[in-house]
């Protein structure tokens, strides 16, 4: 008897709950019906999403009551983008330092011969260093705009900091177009040298001889240099285009364009800055005998044999030799005095 009573009671409760839920649902539907809803709720929702109206005040976007995209821009700029730049640059610096401490620089495998091979002519060196200079200026001032408030302001008087950053912004805006011109000229000048070849794949597989030993032969530009070149061309174009949008707010572009340009500008700059750290390391501390090429224009023959053997063959300084055959140490280069190219 007791068992059936319990059973009946349980059924009653279940039905009760079901009816209660249905009633609640119905009342919700009723409340949200045409009589209950705010007739203007949709209008205000649209305004919140950036729909614009009319304003007698002349000017750009004056009819837009609420600009919705600013919050997205602010969140990305102050949040993930700032973190990404910091992590990428800090991580790269740490990785390079660690690599330098553990493995050290790539030394010349054979002693210097004293014979110098012309590698970069004056125009190439001038353009390289002009680009480098403008890039470093842009990177430092750009980082100042992104991080200065957190990294420098706590240690500086606010007036001094604002003056420095004001000049920084001014220099950034002026140097930008110069960098664009340098980038264009550099792309034009080194385009042919940087076309991909079959031999580049072999270079990549052993990471330029850093892993797996041996020095894979390379043309005038090795695969690493080519990768850096194309990275610079791709992201340099991105940074240039977005930078010009930000630099010349004259053509009636609306805030959304500025915000998008700014985000892409920072993201592109992040990639280039990270690449540049690697490039600077490999071209100076990381490789014995590399920097002198870009400074004085000539490299030692044994350096060229080690890093760019195919190039020596192409310019006729050395005889073509079958794959895998080592360069004899004692051999005098043939046709050394033939003109380059």
């Amino acid at each position: 008897m007791a068992a059936t009573g319990c059973h009946r009671f349980g059924r009653l409760v279940r039905w009760g709950v079901l009816v209660g839920v249905l009633l609640m649902y119905a009342s919700l539907l009723w409340a949200a019906g045409p009589d209950g809803a705010n007739p203007r709720s949709d209008l205000w929702r649209q305004v919140r999403e950036g729909v614009s109206g009319y304003s007698a005040v002349a000017g750009q976007e004056t009819g837009e009551l609420i600009q919705a995209s600013g919050e997205f821009w602010r969140r990305l700029r102050n949040g993930p983008l700032s973190w990404a730049v910091g992590l990428a640059l800090g991580g790269t610096l740490a990785a390079l330092s660690l690599f330098y401490l553990l493995k050290g620089p790539i030394r010349l495998a054979k002693p210097r011969t004293g014979v110098l091979v012309p590698r970069w002519n004056a125009a190439e060196r001038f353009l390289h260093w002009l680009t480098a200079l403008s890039f470093i200026l842009l990177a430092l001032t750009g980082l100042g705009l992104l991080y200065g408030r957190k990294a420098l302001l706590p240690w500086m008087q606010q007036e001094t900091f604002a003056a420095v950053l004001g000049w920084g912004k001014f220099l950034h805006n002026l140097t930008g177009p110069l960098f664009v011109l340098c980038l264009l000229a550099m792309t034009w000048m080194w385009f042919k040298d940087n076309l991909w070849r079959k031999s580049d794949w072999r270079w990549f597989k052993s990471f330029g001889g850093m892993f797996g030993g041996g020095h894979p032969p390379a043309g005038r530009m090795n695969a690493g240099e080519k990768a850096w070149f194309w990275l610079l061309v791709t992201f340099g174009t991105l940074v240039s285009l977005t930078g010009l949008v930000l630099d010349f707010p004259l053509f009636g572009l609306e805030r959304e364009w500025m915000q998008l340009s700014h985000l892409l500008h920072v993201a592109g700059a992040l990639v280039i800055m990270t690449g540049a750290l690697g490039h600077i390391y490999i071209g100076s501390l990381g490789t014995e005998g590399a920097l002198e090429g870009m400074v004085r224009g000539r490299v030692d023959l044994s350096w060229a044999r080690q890093h760019h053997r195919l190039w020596l063959e192409e310019i006729g300084i050395e005889k073509k030799r079958p794959k895998g055959e080592a360069t004899p140490e004692t051999e005098r280069p043939t046709g050394f005095f033939r003109p380059q190219g």
């Binding site: 705010n38 007739p39 209008l43 109206g53 004056t62 602010r74 100042g144 200065g148 004001g166």
Partner: protein, 204 residues
């Protein structure tokens, strides 16, 4: 401490733009800049709404969050002000602000914008109160004179309210209660004045 706020009653604003003009005149605002503007939604259609908008003096202002030189500050009255001597004219506040408040006197090449200008709640700037320099850079400091912003003070329909957020919220709440609910096109107008009575609403 009071937190100063603006509140625009969209049932009352008649888009006369007097607030815009008054602000420009009182503060001697730079050419090309309007610290306040009136936006009309659904202009010319039944149920159009006008709202006067300027810097809303946010409690957590996005402009201040993105300023690279940290030139914004919030006064004891909750007014968001900035220091034009520090401003570098980068335009970030203008990207971040939802209300389009920050404006620049120029749109020059190489990002030359000049110093940002915006509504100060008629509270001047970091210079000495009521000084010549303060007026030159930021306009009138009516708060220091014990007055409220002129835009709200002279609003003919009292649509634009300015003052301690708690007080103007009470005023607005009182209005809403007296209006006896919101106006609706499908019902007789809830109040004997306002847009519902003038347009659209069923005759009682």
């Amino acid at each position: 401490m009071a937190r100063m706020k603006f509140l625009c009653d969209d049932e009352r604003c008649i888009e006369c733009n007097a607030c815009v003009t008054a602000c420009k005149n009182e503060n001697d605002v730079p050419w090309g800049v309007n610290r306040r503007r009136v936006v009309t939604l659904n202009d010319g259609q039944p149920g159009e709404k006008s709202i006067s908008v300027a810097c809303m003096h946010c409690t957590d202002p996005p402009c201040a969050a993105v300023c690279p030189v940290d030139c914004f500050y919030i006064t004891e009255d909750g007014v968001v002000l900035h220091d034009k001597d520090l401003c570098i004219g980068c335009g970030y506040c203008f990207y971040a602000c939802p209300f389009g408040a920050p404006q620049f006197p120029q749109d020059g090449a190489f990002g030359a914008r000049g110093k940002m200008d915006k509504c100060t709640f008629c509270a001047g700037g970091p210079e000495e109160d009521l000084s010549e320099a303060e007026f030159e850079k930021y306009g009138r400091n009516r708060l220091a004179e014990g007055k409220l912003p002129l835009c709200a003070e002279m609003c003919s329909t009292k649509a634009l309210l300015a003052g301690d957020g708690d007080i103007i919220a009470d005023i607005f709440r009182e209005r809403v209660v007296r209006r006896a609910g919101r106006d609706d096109d499908r019902k007789p107008p809830a109040s004997p004045w306002g847009w519902g009575q003038a347009y659209g609403g069923k005759k009682p």
